[in-house]
Point group: C2
Chain length 193, copies 2
Amino acid sequence: MKLLEERIRRDGKIGKGNVLKVDSFLNHQMDVPFLCELGKEFYRLFKDEGITKVLTIEASGIGIAALTAQYFGVPVLFAKKTPTNNISGDVYRAEVYSYTHERTYTIYVAKDFLLPGDKVLIVDDFLAKGSALFALLELVYCAGASVAGAGIAIEKAYQEGGSKVRAAGIRVESLARIASMDEAGGVQFVDEE
Amino acid sequence: MKLLEERIRRDGKIGKGNVLKVDSFLNHQMDVPFLCELGKEFYRLFKDEGITKVLTIEASGIGIAALTAQYFGVPVLFAKKTPTNNISGDVYRAEVYSYTHERTYTIYVAKDFLLPGDKVLIVDDFLAKGSALFALLELVYCAGASVAGAGIAIEKAYQEGGSKVRAAGIRVESLARIASMDEAGGVQFVDEE
């Protein structure tokens, strides 16, 4: 999606350790009118899939998931990273290894809100090594629900997450796929190679 | 707002310790079309205030903040609860005491995204003792920005947060104000007293 590629090139910053910072528009400050355009694109891509629920993970996935879900007219369920008394009843659990924070954590969703009849679209801001996405898929399978696919804003296509998830038969639609990046040369996208 | 009061009465659950669980539509599963109606109401209430930014706190405020901000056509900035390398540069900090988790934590926003010229609408899902809201106000004042007010979905009006913030001269618009609640009698709202 050219709109997102241009925005990454304009406002993304490549920090130490080759971390792409998009905190000015995606995951700290959120440019909401812009994210609505990404949501419309996810709707265009998945509108014929009979989506009943959008699933994401706190915190930075929630904004784009909510703005996307409104075009489908369906609820968002966000997996929580800490057990909380805000969730009532039984939960499904899955483990995520965070390469950013170098630790494993558990994510939770209440069983009441993920049902065998659900057709789930997973939405998240980033896909890199795929740990969070595989954990979200696990939650869906635990519930006996089905997955229509994953709508990802930014895929780091030089990491293995996207190809692993696609190899598992899951449709992954990433609006920007980064082929490579470095502080000197900036960002190259897959479709520009 | 009758729409929200009716929804709380229908789907809210009062758990042990008089915790109101609204995880079926507000802060775990989010009924996005419904939250859009809350967002439109915040827009109606604050549309003449020259809002330039919506400020909230992760994680459960993000969805309603994003859906609200789209009617204003402005960005959302969400305060983070953990320092992260997703945020570049200097930050403003404030302390929040969580009565739910019985501990104090620090919230952060990047200085780059909260500016002296900003007119801020704070949006959050709950207002009870006011600790999170005062911390968000502190971030705004640290930045030299101004506050148009706070748009709250559910205020526990029997706790002191709302009256303390209003006494400080801040406009607080809560879409449902709970006067009292208990497992036997259910929920009573302020305008029903």
